[in-house]
C-alpha cells in the first residue's frame, strides 16, 4: 500500500518537475543530423540561448522523419511530448486533428506570416484557420541534375519537352553513358513519377489525380500514358539501380557515369560537397514539361500543447524560425529555398536563386503543388499505397495497364 502511494507520489513529483523544467527550455525532436543541417539548426539554438532559453536536443534520424514520427507517438502516449517537433505536411494536420498542437496565431499575426508564406504552404501550416506550425523551408522535387561536360560533349541542350528529353536520353545512350541515374527505393521512384505525371497530364490532372484522388483520373488513359513514360525512363536506367541510395545515384552523375538524375534539391549538396559549381560542372533545370510548376515539400516545426496556450519559449522558437535571417542562413546550406518569399537571394548560388525565383512565380500563378511522394499530396496511407504501385511497376511486376488499375484499388483501400 505504502509502496503504491510512494510510486504515485514520485510520479506526481516527476510530472511536476517535468513541466517546470519545460518552462525555461525547449526540447526539440528533429531528424536533421547531417553536418550542414545541424550547423544551420545551431543558428536557431544560438538565437534562443541569447534569450535565455535552453535547447534540449532530441534527434532521431531515419526514413525522412519516419523514425522520428514513431518516437513522437510513443512520447505523446506516455504524456511526455517534446516541446517542438519537426514535421511534414499531412502529419501536421493529423496531429492538429488530435488536438495536440498549440495555436500560434498570436506569433503569426505579430510576424505577419499570412502575407509572406505562400498559400499552398499555409494549407499545411494551418488547421481550421489556426497556425499550428512554422515552416522552415521549401524543397522542390521536379529538378533534373545533369553532368554539364556530358551535355556539352554530346551537344545536348537543356530539354524542355518530353520529346527533347527522350532524344537527350537516346543521345546519351548512344554515347555509351547511362542516361538516367536512379536510386532504387520506393520513395525515389515515386518522386520521379510525381514529375512524370505533372509533365504528362498537366497541373489540373495532377491536382485531380494525386491530390484530390479522383478514381476516374487515377484510372484514366493519361495515367496509363504517364506509366508508359516512366517505363521509357526505366529503360534508360542501368540494371543495377534497385536498392541504390539516392546519393550514390548523384555520385554517378558527378563522376560522369550517368547523364542526369531526377531528384529533389537536396541533391545539390552532394555536388557542392564534391567541389562542383552550378552551371560550370553541373546543371539544374526543371523536369521537362514542368517549367512553370513547383512541386514541393516543406519542413515545419509544430509546437505541442503544454496545457492550453502556447508557452513563451515556444513563441520565441516559432518567431526565430520565421525570421528572414534564419531562413536565409538555413536554406543556403540545406539546398532548399526559404518558406517566406521575401527573403533576399544574395547568399544563394545559381540553382538556389533559380529555385527562389521559381517559387515566387509559382506562388503568384497558383502553380505550387504538393508532392505526393514527399507526403504533401495526401496522407501517409495513400502516399505509401502510391509507392507500392509505382515501385512494383518500376521493378517490372506490372505493365502500365495493370499499374493503372492497381493504383485505383490501392488508393481505395488506403482511404
Amino acid at each position: 500500500m505504502t509502496l503504491i502511494k510512494q510510486l504515485k507520489l514520485s510520479a506526481a513529483v516527476l510530472a511536476l518537475t517535468a513541466t517546470t523544467a519545460a518552462a525555461a527550455d525547449v526540447e526539440v525532436l528533429h531528424w536533421w543530423t547531417s553536418g550542414g543541417e545541424a550547423a544551420a539548426l545551431n543558428v536557431l539554438k544560438g538565437d534562443l540561448e541569447s534569450q535565455n532559453i535552453g535547447w534540449m536536443d532530441m534527434p532521431v534520424a531515419g526514413g525522412g522523419g519516419e523514425a522520428a514520427m514513431t518516437v513522437l507517438r510513443a512520447r505523446v502516449t506516455s504524456g511526455n511530448a517534446p516541446t517542438a517537433v519537426q514535421m511534414l505536411g499531412f502529419d501536421i494536420q493529423d496531429w492538429a486533428k488530435e488536438g495536440a498542437l498549440a495555436n500560434l496565431n498570436d506569433v503569426a499575426s505579430e510576424g505577419g506570416w499570412d502575407a509572406v508564406v505562400p498559400a499552398a504552404l499555409q494549407r499545411f501550416s494551418k488547421y481550421e484557420d489556426q497556425w499550428v506550425a512554422a515552416p522552415v523551408n521549401v524543397h522542390s522535387v521536379n529538378w533534373v541534375w545533369a553532368n554539364k561536360k556530358l551535355f556539352d560533349d554530346n551537344n545536348i541542350s537543356v530539354p524542355t519537352t518530353w520529346e527533347e528529353f527522350e532524344a537527350a536520353m537516346q543521345t546519351l545512350q548512344d554515347a555509351g553513358v547511362t542516361p538516367i541515374a536512379q536510386g532504387g527505393q520506393p520513395w525515389q521512384e515515386a518522386t520521379l513519377f510525381d514529375s512524370v505525371v505533372m509533365a504528362t497530364g498537366g497541373p489540373e490532372f495532377y491536382q485531380k489525380a494525386l491530390i484530390d484522388l479522383d478514381p476516374e483520373a487515377l484510372g484514366s488513359d493519361t495515367m496509363k500514358q504517364a506509366f508508359d513514360r516512366l517505363g521509357v525512363i526505366r529503360e534508360n536506367v542501368d540494371d543495377n539501380f534497385s536498392g541504390r541510395d539516392w546519393n550514390l545515384a548523384t555520385a554517378m552523375v558527378i563522376n560522369g557515369e550517368a547523364g542526369m538524375q531526377i531528384m529533389g534539391d537536396w541533391a545539390k549538396g552532394e555536388f557542392v560537397a564534391a567541389g562542383q559549381v552550378p552551371d560550370e560542372d553541373f546543371l539544374c533545370f526543371r523536369f521537362p514539361g514542368t517549367q512553370d510548376q513547383v512541386m514541393f515539400n516543406a519542413d515545419q516545426f509544430a509546437m505541442f500543447d503544454q496545457g492550453g496556450t502556447v508557452s513563451e519559449e515556444q513563441a520565441a522558437l516559432a518567431s526565430a524560425i520565421m525570421s528572414p535571417s534564419f531562413q536565409a542562413a538555413f536554406n543556403v546550406v540545406k539546398g532548399s529555398v526559404p518558406a517566406r518569399t521575401d527573403v533576399p537571394d544574395t547568399d544563394f548560388d545559381a540553382c538556389g536563386k533559380k529555385g527562389m525565383a521559381d517559387l515566387a512565380q509559382a506562388a503568384e500563378a497558383d502553380m505550387l503543388f504538393g508532392s505526393l511522394a514527399q507526403g504533401h499530396g495526401a496522407p501517409a496511407s495513400i502516399k505509401n499505397a502510391y509507392y507500392d504501385v509505382v515501385t512494383a511497376f518500376f521493378n517490372g511486376s506490372f505493365d502500365s495497364e495493370t499499374a493503372t488499375e492497381e493504383l485505383v484499388t490501392a488508393i481505395e483501400i488506403a482511404q
Partner: protein, 298 residues
C-alpha cells in the same frame, strides 16, 4: 541446523512457498506486458485506429482490407520461405561448425570468436556492407570480374525472385555462429565415457552421432529453434538495411509490414490485425512443438 520440530515444519512450508514467490514477479510482468498487450492489440485490430489508438469498433473491416493487400500475401509467403531456409541452414551450419570444432582443432580459440562475432554487430550499418558485397556493380561480382573471372554472376539482390535468398544469406551469417556456440556447449556436456563404451561395442562414428550425440543435444535443438524462429519472425533491421523491402516490395516480411502500417502509414488498425494474424500463425506452429518437447521431460 534445524532444532525444534515445529520450527522445521514452518521451514518446510516456507521452503515450498519461496520458489513460487521467486517466480511470481517474472510471471506477473509477462502476463501484463506480453499477454495484456496482446489482448490490447487484438482489441485495436477491431477498431478504426489510425495515428493513435481509437476505441471505435468497426468489426472485421481491417482483416478484410488486410487480405485484399497483395503485398501482405507476399510478405507471408516470404516469411515461409525465409524462416524455413534460415532456420534449417543456420542449424545445419551451427551443428557442423560445433561438431568440427569439437575435434581438438588447433586455433579453436581464434576461430570461435570469428564465427560468433556477427551476432555482436547491429544491422543498421552491417546491412550497408552486405548491400555493397552483394551488389553486382560494386561488390563480389565486380571484383571477380576484375580478377579475371568474367563469367561470374551474382545479381540475386537485384532480382525480385531471388532477393529473398540474399536476406537468408545475411541472416545465416549473423546467427549461425551463435547456434554453433549453443551446440558446442551441449557437445561438451556429453559424457565421454558413454561414447567410449559405445566405441568398444563397435559403434561407428555415424551411429554414435545418431544414437547418442544427437538425442543428447535435444535441449540445444529446442533453444536453437526457439531463438532462430523468433529472430526470423522479428527480422526487421536486416531487411530494411539490406533491401529496404525491395526490389519493389519483393522482400517485405510481416515485421516490416506491421511496422509500416502501424507507424509510417498511420493505419494502426490494419497493423494490429496483421500482428494478430502473425501471432496466431506463430502459435499454430509453436504450441504443438513446445507441447511435444516439454511433455516428454516429465
Amino acid at each position: 541446523m534445524a532444532s525444534a520440530p515445529a520450527q522445521a515444519d514452518l521451514r518446510t512450508r516456507l521452503q515450498n512457498f519461496i520458489p513460487k514467490l521467486v517466480l511470481a514477479p517474472s510471471v506477473a510482468v509477462i502476463f501484463l506486458f506480453v499477454y495484456g498487450f496482446i489482448i490490447f492489440t487484438l482489441y485495436l485490430s477491431f477498431t478504426d485506429s489510425r495515428i493513435l489508438p481509437s476505441y471505435n469498433l468497426v468489426g472485421f473491416e481491417n482483416y478484410s482490407k488486410l487480405f485484399r493487400l497483395s503485398h501482405w500475401t507476399t510478405s507471408i509467403t516470404n516469411l515461409a520461405i525465409f524462416a524455413s531456409l534460415y532456420i534449417g541452414i543456420s542449424t545445419l551450419i551451427g551443428l557442423a561448425l560445433a561438431t568440427f570444432l569439437d575435434q581438438k582443432i588447433r586455433g579453436e580459440g581464434l576461430l570461435r570468436p570469428i564465427y560468433l562475432y556477427p551476432m555482436a554487430l547491429s544491422f543498421i550499418v552491417t546491412g550497408t556492407a552486405w548491400k555493397w558485397l552483394l551488389d553486382p556493380g560494386i561488390g563480389l561480382e565486380h571484383t571477380m570480374h576484375l580478377w579475371g573471372w568474367e563469367s561470374f554472376q551474382f545479381g540475386w539482390i537485384k532480382n525480385s525472385d531471388y532477393a529473398i535468398y540474399t536476406v537468408v544469406l545475411a541472416a545465416v551469417w549473423q546467427s549461425s555462429g551463435f547456434v554453433m556456440a549453443m551446440f558446442l556447449a551441449g557437445l561438451r556436456g556429453i559424457d565421454n565415457e558413454i561414447l567410449k563404451a559405445a566405441q568398444m561395442d563397435g559403434a561407428s562414428n555415424f551411429q554414435m552421432y545418431r544414437r547418442i550425440i544427437l538425442p543428447q543435444l535435444r535441449p540445444a535443438f529446442l533453444s536453437a529453434f526457439v531463438i532462430l524462429s523468433h529472430l526470423a519472425v522479428k527480422s526487421y533491421d536486416l531487411v530494411i538495411a539490406l533491401t529496404g523491402g525491395g526490389p519493389g516490395r519483393a522482400t517485405e516480411l510481416p515485421a516490416t509490414f506491421m511496422y509500416s502500417y502501424t507507424f509510417t502509414r498511420n493505419q494502426m488498425g490494419i497493423g494490429a490485425s496483421s500482428a494478430v494474424i502473425m501471432l496466431m500463425t506463430i502459435a499454430a506452429i509453436m504450441v504443438p512443438y513446445l507441447y511435444a518437447e516439454l511433455r516428454e521431460k516429465k
